[in-house]
Structure formats: structure tokens, C-alpha cells
Amino acid sequence: MTLADLSPGDSAKLDKIDTADPGVIRLMILGMVEDITVRMENIAIGGDPLEVGFFGSSVSLRKEQARHFKVTRITSVPST
């Protein structure tokens, strides 16, 4: 399962990150590294881009990059 497969409200742990895409490295510099917990906050109309929250920050990224993040879903709480 990758980050791109989460639904809004899902929390997940980042397991393995494929660093071949330079865009992925930009996201890692923003703090999306292995072993942190992220939450899928919002998905824009049209299914892309995504808004992911972690450590009090929100970052938006495209699905294309999100697919490089392997995740384990932890909980699914629909956002209020």
C-alpha cells in the first residue's frame, strides 16, 4: 500500500521510501522520512494533489510522488 491509496482521515506509518524521484527527496527535506506517522488530510477535487499532515505541518504533493511512499495504515478516522 502506498501513500496514494489512503483516504482522507487515514493515518499511516511511512515504511519505505523510493528515492529515485527527485521530487520525493524534496518531500523528505520537508520531513517525510521513514517511521513517521502521517495523516491524509484532504484530497483536491479531481483526486490530486493530496494534503498530508505530520508533526503539526501540512504538505501538499501529487499522487505521482505519493506512490513512492510505502505505508502501513494505522487508523481510519473520517475527518470532521
Binding site: 520537508l30 484532504n42 483536491a44 501540512s58 501529487r62
Partner: protein, 717 residues
């Protein structure tokens, strides 16, 4: 806020003035509250200048403390030292002392948002490699408390190896006095020689820097190893041999990209620090916070976006009108008054029609630009602009761009100049240039007068359904501009500027109440920059057009125009027909006649051609030139000019302004790049003549071809 008001200042003050002040760099993540802190620390003792060679403004201020003073440089926000956008790179280069003519900072004041310790500490750890005296300001303490976050400042200070940390409230300014006291000693702070997050890298780089000699700093070695600075990476390979460097890289990074390894290593450390120093108590979300969370959901957010857009447009075009009318009539009144005072001669005409009209044509845009900027700055400070990019990314992707091009595109509905400057935040150079070339297509306010004139004169004022036909045509012209811009972006992104698909990654800040002082200072700043950038160009252009239209003078001994002989004509129409005759034989008129064959296939006579030629440096002069050419005076109201246009005929009696010709003319104005200020800005921002020349040629060509097709096809039908 207490300023040092002690009596002993004079003695101390003299001492300080004699020695060069230390320069401290204010650095931190975007939206960490840097500007607010900068304003609080410097008060109004600040100036804005350009960094040499680049277009990024530098904000310099003086911090006057009780016993000392230093210069503070406010830098664009960054997340790491691997900055990629123009803004980010300059922040990094100034911090590292790599900008010629800019003093290398003797200390760093690192701003960390207490609600974003995670990214703030990452940047801090990178900055510690500079081994400069460093202090940390923890901003947004009150926001953190409101979010249920509490931070053990003493524990944080310990984790950072003893670097002073000052919590400051962003709303009340609480903690500022302690910070100011601490700042007296900023240059005495010693930072840990090996930052805790990645000791292996720091140690390796330190040893290499000593081995390589004086022109290598530790941070240079680090950037060379991480390949985040290509020049240093190359230099390091040359000095050590590429095999040694490869070996070092393998030992430090394994086979993963160095930047990814750095993120993993440092964030792992940051995470452990946060778990020790930060406590996050889940709080019941307040009503306001829940509302904001709801408005961030896709559908409400998108609807809100269009509502905000509507409000901004309404404001820019409705609220600004009274102010623009005042400026307009003031400048023409002043001109008229000058002419009555000085008599009608070359000098008074130069002052009235050249200088005053020129200055007027610049400041008339100021109300719109300031209103637009006010909205943009407020939206930026609330964090909403980033969200706009998020919402519109999907649409922009269809033309090969990303959400980050949305703001510049929207700004160019007022004026392309600030829009082009706003592209600096776009990290990818190809995306940035495509956006720069698309922006001038948007219907800027300078196009509106000619649109208004032609639509009022030639489009019947009738209803189509519940809409007005004239309004519909104006709307169509806006759409035409948008299509032109997006089409251009698509074309460029799939040809000359083809590249890897743009990434779109953007930190989305949460909602914050903007600080009035910060907004006011930013607004003043941007207005000033506009006047300086666009103002000088438009002013020069106005003088140039005046010269072309005024010289050479008509020989007054020639027989008077026929109209003079008729008794019924009044004084004004005599003056107007004289002015028209003068225009006809002026350089501008001659250019119009010479160039007429070029525009003949578009159905334009020499008068229209002259007006269009005069509009090339600045399209806003077109209506005034038409007024003069058609002998109704440059100040005539649209109605009289409209009548003249409607009855203008070719020598053989056919009407000049037929519907196909007018539609073609409108298309020409929608697409043609008639603005020297825009060209100058493109030149400055792309740092080459290639793009302005391309933009001009390209837009003029498609404007011409568009008008040609419409006129020729329309005339046959």
C-alpha cells in the same frame, strides 16, 4: 516594548558608530513569523535594496539595543540549505557569505515556529554546520499553547548543545525584552563544534576542511559531499581526486542519494528531540479551528476560492475607479492649468502632455495595484495563498504547470509587472519562464480603456438572455487572454521548455491572523517597487511618444485648414483639427503612414496604425492618441470619440471601423505585447534578452495573425 532610554547612550553611541556594526542574518522556515519579528526588532529603522545581480529584495534593518546595535538582514524563508527557487537560493547564499558585496553575517538569529519544531530544528541543525554564533527565537508560542503544545525550553536548549533559545509570543510580543537582552551578546555565543544530528558528516567535513586549506569552510565541504552545490562538488573532486570523494560518499551515504540520507539522519534526531521536549495534549478543537478545517475540505475550499476571487476582482475594478478618476482628472487639470500659465508652446506641451501625462499614466495604476497587493499580502499572511495553489494545481497541470503558477497568473489581471516578479517562488526554471511568458496575456488594467472604447462604440447595448452583449464581449476578451496565456504555457512546456513533469510540493500553513504592521510594511514596499520598476519605463515611454507626436512642428504659415473658413465651427474644434493636422505630419503620423501597408490587410488606415504604433511601448496611451488623431482632443470623452470612429471612412467612402475590423483590433489588443515595462521586467527576471525578444515577437505575431484572420474571414462573410 522598551527601547533603551538610558542617559548614558551618547557616550556608548559614539563608540558604536566608530566600529563597523555586526551583521546578523534572520533566517527560518517560510511562515515562521520572521517578518513580524524583523519589524518588531527594527521598528521602522529598515531599508529595502536589491541583492547585487539578482532581483530579490533584501530587507535591512538596524536593531538598537540598550548597549549596542547591529544590522539585521531579513531573508526569504527556507526549509533547508538545498534551496532551489530563486528566493531560496539567495537566502542560502547570503547566509553562507557567497553574495558579492554583501557582508557575511557574523551571527544567525534562527526563527523557529513553536508549532513546527520539526522542520525548524532540521534547518537549525544544518545551519549549525556554519559554526557561526547562533540564537534561536521560538515564535508562535501562543499559537502552540492554543493547540495544546507545550515546549520545555530548558530541555530544548540542552538538546541543542546550549544554544540560547528565546520563546516569543507573536501576538503580544511577550518575551521580546528577554530576547533583546540576549541579543546584546549574540556574537559571543559558541555553538557546539559537532552538531548532534549527524556527527559523522560534521566530523568528516571538519577534517577535510582543515586538510583542504583556508578557502574551504566546513559547510562548503558538506555541500560538496552532499552535491547540493555543484561548484563546490566539482572543486572537491578536483582537489581530492574523484575516487577519494566517491569512497567518502559511499561511506557516508551508502548507495542512496545524499540529500535523502541527510533528511533521514537529521529528522531521526529531530524526532527524538521533539519527543523529549514537547508535550502535545489533545485539546477540544475550538469552533474557529473546526470551521477552518471544514473550509479546507475540497468542495468548500474550491467554492471559497471562487468567492475570494470574485471579491478581489470586484475590489480591484470597482473600489479603485474613484481614485483612478481623481488621478486622471487631476493630471489633466494640472496639464491644462500649466498650458494656460505658460502659453501654448513646446515647453508647456512637454510638461503637460509629456511629463505630467507620463507621471499620471504611471500613478493611475497605483490604486488597483495597491488594492490587489493588499489582498495578496493579507491572503499570503493568513496562509490562504498556498492553499489556492493546492486547489488549482489540477487545472494548471493540464497545461504543464503546477499550482504555484496560479498566483502570478491572477496578479497579471491587474498588471503583468508584479505578476512576473511573483514567479520567483516557482522552483523549476522552465515552469517559471513558461509562467512569465503566459502572464502578459491576461487582461491587465491597461487594456481596459481601449476595450471599453471599442465595445461602447461598436457592440450594441442589448441584452442576450439575462446578460448584456457588451459585458459578454468584455468577458469573451478576458477568456481570450486566459486561453492565450494557458495555450502559450502548454505550447512552451511541450516544446522549448519541455522537461520532467513539474513536481508540486508545498507546505500548507495553517490559518493565521495577519499582523497589520507587517501587512502595511509589505504593501508600502511593493507599491514602491512597482513605481520604481514600471514607473521609470512608462514615464520614459510617455516622453518618447510625446516627442514623436510633437515634432516636427507644422509650418504655421501654411494655409489654414479648410475648417477654419467655415463660420459655424467653435474655437475648440479649430484647435482639435489643428492638433489632428499636426499629428498627421508628426513623426508618429509619418511612422503610421509608412507602416500602414503592413496593417492594411487587417483593415487599418494610417490613423489606427499610428495609434497602434504609439501603443507598442505602453498600450495605455492608445486611447489618448486616437483622440488626438481623430481631432476630438486627447481629453475627449469616449462618446465623441466613438462617433468619430463610427463615421471614419476610407478615401473611397467605405467605413473603416467595420465589425470584422473592430473584432480583429480587439483580438490584436488582447494578445499583443504592448508594454515596455513588461519587457523590461522579463529581461530582468530571466536575466537574458532572449525571453523578452521571444515574448514580443511571439505575441505580436499571434496578435497580428489573429486580427488578420478575423478581418479577412469576417469581410468575406
Amino acid at each position: 516594548m522598551t527601547e533603551g532610554t538610558e542617559v548614558k547612550i551618547p557616550v556608548r553611541g559614539i563608540g558604536i558608530r566608530h566600529k563597523a556594526r555586526a551583521s546578523i542574518a534572520l533566517i527560518g522556515n517560510p511562515n515562521a513569523g520572521k517578518s513580524t519579528l524583523f519589524n518588531r526588532l527594527t521598528g521602522l529603522r529598515q531599508t529595502t535594496a536589491n541583492f547585487p545581480g539578482v532581483t530579490v529584495e533584501k530587507h535591512l534593518g538596524t536593531v538598537q539595543l540598550a548597549n549596542s546595535a547591529f544590522n539585521l538582514v531579513d531573508l526569504p524563508g527556507i526549509y533547508s540549505l538545498d534551496g532551489i527557487s530563486v528566493d531560496e537560493r539567495i537566502a542560502v547564499d547570503v547566509t553562507l557569505g557567497r553574495v558579492p558585496g554583501t557582508q557575511r553575517p557574523s551571527g544567525l538569529l534562527v526563527v523557529i515556529d513553536a508549532t513546527h519544531l520539526y522542520q525548524g530544528l532540521y534547518l537549525l541543525e544544518q545551519l549549525l554546520e556554519l559554526q557561526l554564533p547562533t540564537m534561536v527565537v521560538l515564535t508562535m508560542i501562543d499559537a502552540a499553547t492554543a493547540n495544546g503544545i507545550s515546549i520545555d525550553v530548558a530541555a530544548l536548549q540542552d538538546a541543542l548543545g546550549g544554544i540560547p533559545v528565546y520563546p516569543v509570543s507573536n501576538i503580544s510580543g511577550h518575551g521580546l525584552d528577554e530576547l533583546k537582552d540576549g541579543l546584546e551578546h549574540i556574537t559571543d555565543v559558541t555553538v557546539p563544534s559537532i552538531p548532534a544530528s549527524w556527527p559523522e558528516l560534521s566530523e568528516t567535513a571538519q577534517q577535510l576542511a582543515q586538510q583542504l586549506g583556508a578557502d574551504w569552510q566546513r559547510i562548503d565541504v558538506i555541500q560538496a559531499l552532499l552535491k547540493t552545490h555543484p561548484d563546490y562538488a566539482g572543486k572537491l573532486g578536483k582537489q581530492l581526486g574523484s575516487e577519494t570523494v566517491t569512497e567518502l560518499r559511499v561511506r557516508l551515504f551508502g548507495d542512496a542519494p545524499p540529500a535523502a540520507v541527510e533528511a533521514r539522519r537529521r529528522y531521526q534526531w529531530v524526532k527524538s528531540v521533539i519527543s523529549n521536549v514537547q508535550d502535545h495534549a489533545p485539546l477540544y478543537e475550538k469552533m474557529g479551528a473546526r470551521l477552518i478545517r471544514w473550509t479546507n475540505k475540497p468542495w468548500p475550499a474550491t467554492l471559497l476560492f471562487f468567492a475570494v476571487l470574485l471579491l478581489v476582482f470586484q475590489a480591484v475594478f470597482t473600489w479603485a475607479t474613484p481614485m483612478m478618476d481623481v488621478i486622471d482628472s487631476a493630471s489633466s487639470e494640472l496639464g491644462r492649468w500649466l498650458v494656460t500659465q505658460l502659453g501654448n508652446n513646446a515647453f508647456s506641451s512637454f510638461l503637460a502632455d509629456g511629463v505630467i501625462a507620463g507621471v499620471g499614466s504611471v500613478i493611475i495604476f497605483l490604486p488597483q495595484i495597491l488594492i490587489l497587493f493588499l489582498f495578496i499580502i493579507v491572503l499570503e499572511d493568513t496562509g490562504y495563498l498556498a492553499r489556492t495553489s493546492f486547489l488549482m494545481d489540477r487545472v494548471m497541470r493540464s497545461v504543464g504547470l503546477s499550482g504555484q503558477s496560479v498566483i502570478p497568473m491572477l496578479s497579471s489581471f491587474a498588471c503583468a509587472v508584479p505578476a512576473i516578479m511573483a514567479t520567483r517562488v516557482i522552483p523549476d526554471r522552465r515552469d517559471r519562464i513558461a509562467t512569465i511568458l503566459a502572464a502578459p496575456f491576461m487582461t491587465c488594467s491597461a487594456r481596459l480603456p481601449i476595450y471599453a472604447l471599442l465595445i461602447a462604440a461598436f457592440v450594441p447595448d442589448q441584452s442576450v438572455g439575462w446578460m448584456n452583449l457588451q459585458g459578454l464581449v468584455l468577458f469573451a476578451l478576458y477568456i481570450l487572454g486566459i486561453l492565450g496565456g494557458l495555450g502559450t504555457a502548454l505550447l512552451l512546456k511541450s516544446s522549448a521548455l519541455r522537461g520532467p513533469k513539474p513536481h508540486f510540493m508545498l507546505a500548507l500553513p495553517e490559518f493565521r491572523t495577519p499582523n497589520i504592521q507587517t501587512v502595511a510594511i509589505k504593501l508600502y514596499d511593493r507599491g514602491r517597487i512597482f513605481l520604481k520598476r514600471a514607473g521609470t519605463v512608462i514615464f520614459v515611454v510617455a516622453i518618447l511618444v510625446w516627442t514623436l507626436a510633437y515634432f516636427p512642428r507644422m509650418d504655421t504659415s501654411q494655409s489654414p485648414p479648410a475648417t477654419l473658413l467655415t463660420e459655424s465651427v467653435d474655437q475648440t474644434s479649430i484647435i482639435n483639427s489643428q492638433a489632428a493636422a499636426q499629428m498627421e505630419q508628426s513623426w508618429l503620423g509619418r511612422i503610421g503612414r509608412t507602416i500602414e501597408p503592413v496593417f492594411r490587410p487587417l483593415g487599418w488606415d494610417w490613423r489606427v496604425s499610428s495609434a497602434v504604433v504609439a501603443g507598442f511601448p505602453a498600450r495605455e496611451v492608445v486611447v489618448a492618441v486616437m483622440g488626438t488623431i481623430y481631432a476630438v482632443g486627447s481629453e475627449a470623452d469616449d462618446q465623441r470619440l466613438s462617433e468619430k470612429l463610427r463615421s471614419a471612412k476610407w478615401p473611397d467612402g467605405r467605413l473603416i471601423f467595420t465589425l470584422p475590423m473592430v473584432l480583429g483590433l480587439l483580438v490584436f489588443y488582447a494578445w499583443c505585447l504592448q508594454c515596455a515595462a513588461t519587457l523590461a521586467t522579463i529581461r530582468r527576471e530571466t536575466n537574458s534578452w532572449r525571453w523578452p525578444i521571444f515574448a514580443w515577437t511571439y505575441m505580436t505575431t499571434i496578435g497580428y495573425v489573429g486580427a488578420l484572420i478575423i478581418y479577412q474571414v469576417g469581410s468575406v462573410l
